[in-house]
Amino acid sequence: MFQKFGLVQLNLIPLVDTFVAIVFFSLTAATVGDLAPILNGVTLPQAKVGAPAHQELTLGVSSRPAAIVFNGHQVMSATAAAQATSNVPDQPLVVPQLYTALKTAADSIRNVNGVSQNESVTTPLAIQGDKTMRYDLLQRLLQTARLAGFRTITLQVQRATEQGEAATVTM
């Protein structure tokens, strides 16, 4: 019939298929795209309470290998962080190398937000710590982050199921 009237036949099937793919990935991205991924080499503790974790600037303490990771980049080894000597007077917990990395990120956020360099930033910093991490190292991370300008910290842990075990294995 199309040929009879000199019309071009339009095959809509590939278009429909493409829209199926777009809808699928849009729904997937909207559902899980905002949620936080777990860093490699980190075995998170499990907890039944807490708010849903969102994707944020992430400071990780991995155990395989034992390292401090900020935004996907290894800053230093966990041992070096635990043994680092502070270079800030009256602040013995500051880890200088990590402080530099966090300060750079905080300054960048301040520039974007037009905030004074002396003010803390409200952008959250997520900490994904391995379950074997000692509290003295966590203290050093918290204090370093605070002095770098972050005042909102979230401790991201794995949500435990009703049976007390997570449904998936941590990466």
Binding site: A47, D136, R146, L155, Q158, R159
Partner: protein, 182 residues
């Protein structure tokens, strides 16, 4: 004049390109679905991500506002000072007991039974002081992060939403749970 049979045959031939062999061509759909499955498996982190949860902390700011601007600060309405100490193989609960003799109780271990006991003790304290909503968690330096998170979880479950994470060794506050947070 064309017979009815010929008309039907002509219509059938017109439709043929769209429904060749009487079927919809599903090959492109299968191709697309194969791509979806492939990339989904390749980037599969959804189940891991949805299992994450967070404890929000608000650190004291480094730059303190000028003294003149703090007049609007809320008055201290603390009714009870409650501390949960975490030591190696021991959890210690202490509180000011509303002006009476201070309360203290040691709970051996960090296992599920010990944590259940801790929650029971905290629930009793909450019943005794329903207005109290703040608790200090004081881990020792050598305590594992896993044990700290479990204690934080039980303190939250006992309806003490304002949790301070403090250090006994250095006697300085490190982080405070966001009172108005999520």
């Amino acid at each position: 004049m064309a017979s009815r049979f010929h008309k039907l045959r002509a219509r059938h031939q017109e439709r043929e390109p769209l429904t060749a062999h009487g079927r919809i061509n599903l090959v492109p759909l299968v191709d697309i679905l194969t791509s979806i499955v492939f990339f989904s498996l390749l980037t599969y982190t959804g189940a891991v991500m949805t299992n994450l949860t967070a404890f929000d902390l608000a650190l004291p700011p480094v730059v303190v506002t000028a003294p003149g601007t703090t007049s609007g600060a809320q008055p201290d309405t603390t009714t009870l000072i409650l501390a949960v100490g975490i030591k190696q193989g021991l959890i210690r609960v202490e509180h000011s007991n509303g002006g009476q003799a201070p309360f203290a109780q040691n709970i051996a271990g960090h296992g599920p039974a010990s944590l259940d006991t801790l929650q029971t003790v905290l629930n009793n304290i909450k019943q005794q002081f329903p207005d109290a909503d703040a608790a200090m968690v004081v881990p020792d330096d050598d305590v594992a992060y896993d044990d700290i998170v479990h204690v934080l979880e039980r303190v939250k479950l006992a309806r003490f939403p304002k949790i301070s994470l403090t250090s006994a060794a250095r006697s300085m506050q490190v982080a405070t749970n966001n009172p108005g947070g999520r």
